[in-house]
Symmetry: C3
Subunit: 360 residues, 3 copies
């Protein structure tokens, strides 16, 4: 663990800081956090599901974060909270910085264009390249090998991991995290028709990303053609996603890995998108929609929808169809039987050939 | 905009250069291009669809590129052309270089092996690594952090963005663009059977890419096992694609993001492939075929096909089946009803049990 | 070919080294390996399928690796072996190193933290960054631009290609190969619910990879939340895969490109996974299972299964359903015909409306 806590807390101090109700011994010093499968003495564990609580209470943990308190509980202590996962995340953030602190300042092997503007207390690691007129906000960290092209702008308190590339003119807000080898601002995929003499459509638009966003490893966000590709605030993208040119993503969006979002797609606030889903050019996904994994979104999705499948449609309908698809062998057998009986019922001399409709 | 026009043009001069017919005022100085949603005075906009023309003509644009000319039109000027998108791309290319010009020469932080051969007027950015015996053609640009391994060869007028890796022995033609963090020439995925003592199949083949190709961000093209993986001319690959070992792609191919092309696949000229499609080992896709997004191509595709679905099949058939799949609940209800009526029609004493076919 | 053989062998010497039975002339000097499509004099070719043998024997190869020996065969020589592909891989490994040898030692442009520990005979290329307290085992090679974060540990005889990023605390075993721009140890994708004030779950777990593993280009393996993400021995991952936080992969696993493995998934030994498949959170895939390409694994897979489809199910069932899906137009026509006949059979005055079940 490279990011040790600068201060230590007792169980009671932690309960107070995260607003949890303490049951039991509060004076124990907390040494860290752990999962139920690897409890260490002094650590805090969380019991998200009710059935995990007894097991957690039999462990050597210093405290258990839980939403229920069994009557018999005495030790370990319980930190009672209505939202176990959230409280646990708060504790993790209290105890640890999370990411390694780079030394503040500029590593001697970094290549910083003299026209670039660096905010106070930035940390710029080995072999970073910062291009002309780039601006980097206060306290942002660029890990080794990050490359920022001409006129890119990075907000305050950002943390970019190794190998991240940010293209010219792109803008990234405050408190954004970008994981290794992600690419912000490659060209969109657009060529004129007429193959033999196809012309590339130059891409002049930027990528503009809001505050508190997180971009996964090897995820690529393409710049707009003339206008910008836009991500709002608190957009969290997993790894290996492509956001196409001119997309507009709202705020508070979660998208799992390997999604392909084609050009000009609009995804409104509070959408949650399962992994490996695809979105056709220019579809709009309404506010608060859930799109199941591996969906193919081929038309607009009304706000508040739960869609799934290829093509993506109402989740219940898609499930029902899948169940029936698995019953198709039965259905065909029933149809065979029905046809036989009808044949028996028909007057002699009338055969299938008369109907002209059986193509089987 | 970092790539400002070195010269300025009037509307009339632009019309002449791109072969469009000018209607209206030609003396206006053009300051740039814009989309209909963000028109700036002095800019040229394009109205691709007929319904966009009136709106474009009400804007403050200097000129509108359109394929129709309303009688009443006077200002802005109209640049009439049969192919709006193509003419607009030509104007963009006329006005802007498109990509930032790196200073010609070799940045002092680049590591160039003494046996490498650099063409005239190359631009090699900070922290580039060029390995032994690499050859780079005239006027090619390597942005910061590009890495070219032993014996790689790059043509003339190429532009490789940051973080691109080209493996040993690979060959890339003229005027190719490779976007950030793409990987040319990783090993193919091949191991002998027999797990406990599985042997890796060494990959000696190269990747050989023709002229005028474009490779998207984080796209990976694997080298061949013994022979080469080959891309023809004018192949445009979007982001996050894998082209497997020993594939042969023809000329004038477009492939959208996140496609997975397994080993030994042949894709003939003029194919267009939708995003997230997969291709099984050694299938052949015939010339001029269109493969819809998220398809699974499991057998050969005849030339000129329009295929879609999993498994990929004729597009119309696949659509028809999907429509019927969504009608399966109806179909089952109709079958239920038919069975009931047959039961009513049958002489008393004959029951379903006699048929032995109803598995429901 | 940058990796020329340091020594040369005759056909007979090769036969002896790989345990194949020699038929024909053994004194020929072997100059390399080749495919049947590009045979060069002096090269060894392989004829995996019986039908390839006659063609191979008509070529100018020095020897043919085959599992059958035609009576008439005299020249080229035949190296008889029950497992053609395996023997051929052995010959490739005998003749070539496979990967370019970097000069041993540390390139002057590499940035090595003084607290890092480098094993004997490591080869560290230009612009590599090795962070604090990193340990690298003997004879491992880091190609240009590899970046190892704080406290990472790399085993012996590893070969990491350009642009690989290994995050803090991660552990990689012996003889592992990692291809360009792969990312080991990015954060998992986990956020607390409650969007407006969503909290990131810090990820303290590591990625721990066993021996003899191979990781494809631009593949990303996320670190665990509290516990580790674990890969066993001899796990081979293709390009552009994501392995989510807290996954446990056993030994001897093969996974093709573009798979998405969500958090907490367990994949037991000897599984083979087709490309573009997705795995839902926390499913378990039993030992020795085969998962077809583009599957969606939404529930546990029993050991030894052959699953395919979305949702993934028994391969035969899935295929049967797909065949029937393609027959749905017929099925509907047959149902239409059956309904017509029933209508004819019913006494006059009884109509469909009476049943209330026909929704068509």
């Amino acid at each position: 663990m490279t990011s040790a806590s600068p201060t230590t807390y007792t169980v009671a101090q932690i309960a107070e800081r995260v607003g949890a109700t303490l049951h039991g011994e509060g004076a124990t010093l907390v040494t860290g956090v752990a999962s139920l499968d690897a409890v260490r003495p002094g650590s805090i564990v969380f019991a998200e599901r009710e059935r995990d609580v007894p097991r957690a209470l039999e462990s050597k943990a210093a405290a258990v974060v839980a939403s229920i308190v069994p009557q018999a509980a005495t030790s370990p202590a319980i930190l009672e909270t209505p939202n176990v996962r959230r409280t646990f995340a708060q504790i993790c953030q209290l105890l640890f910085l999370g990411y390694p602190e780079e030394p503040r300042g500029v590593h001697p092997t970094a290549v910083i264009d003299p026209t670039a503007e660096l905010g106070a207390d930035v940390a710029i690691g080995p072999r970073v390249v910062v291009g002309p007129r780039v601006k980097i906000g206060a306290r942002s960290t660029l890990r080794p090998g990050v490359m920022l092209d001409e006129d890119a702008r990075v907000g305050e308190d950002c943390y970019f991991f190794s190998g991240v590339v940010v293209g010219r003119d792109c803008i990234i807000g405050d408190r954004c995290v970008i994981h290794p080898n992600a690419v912000i601002g490659a060209d969109g995929f657009g060529f004129t028709d007429g193959f033999d003499a196809s012309l590339k459509q130059p891409h002049f638009g930027r990528v503009v990303i809001g505050n508190d966003c997180e971009i996964g490893a090897c995820t690529t966000i393409d710049r707009g053609t003339l206008d910008d590709t836009i991500l709002g605030d608190d957009v969290k993208l997993d790894n290996l996603i492509i956001i196409g040119h001119n997309c507009k993503l709202g705020n508070h969006i979660r998208m799992a890995a390997l999604c392909g979002v084609a050009g000009g797609v609009i995804i409104e606030d509070y959408c949650v998108i399962g992994g490996q889903s695809g979105f056709q050019n220019r579809v709009r996904v309404g506010r608060g929609s859930l799109i199941g994994g591996q969906s193919g979104v081929m038309r607009d999705v009304p706000p508040g929808s739960q869609f799934w499948g290829l093509p993506a449609r109402n989740h219940r309908d898609a499930l029902k169809e899948l169940v029936l698809l698995q019953r198709l062998p039965d259905i065909v057998q029933r149809l065979d039987a029905a046809e036989q009986k009808i044949q028996q019922l028909l007057p002699a001399g009338v055969s299938d050939d008369d109907t002209g409709t059986d193509l089987d």
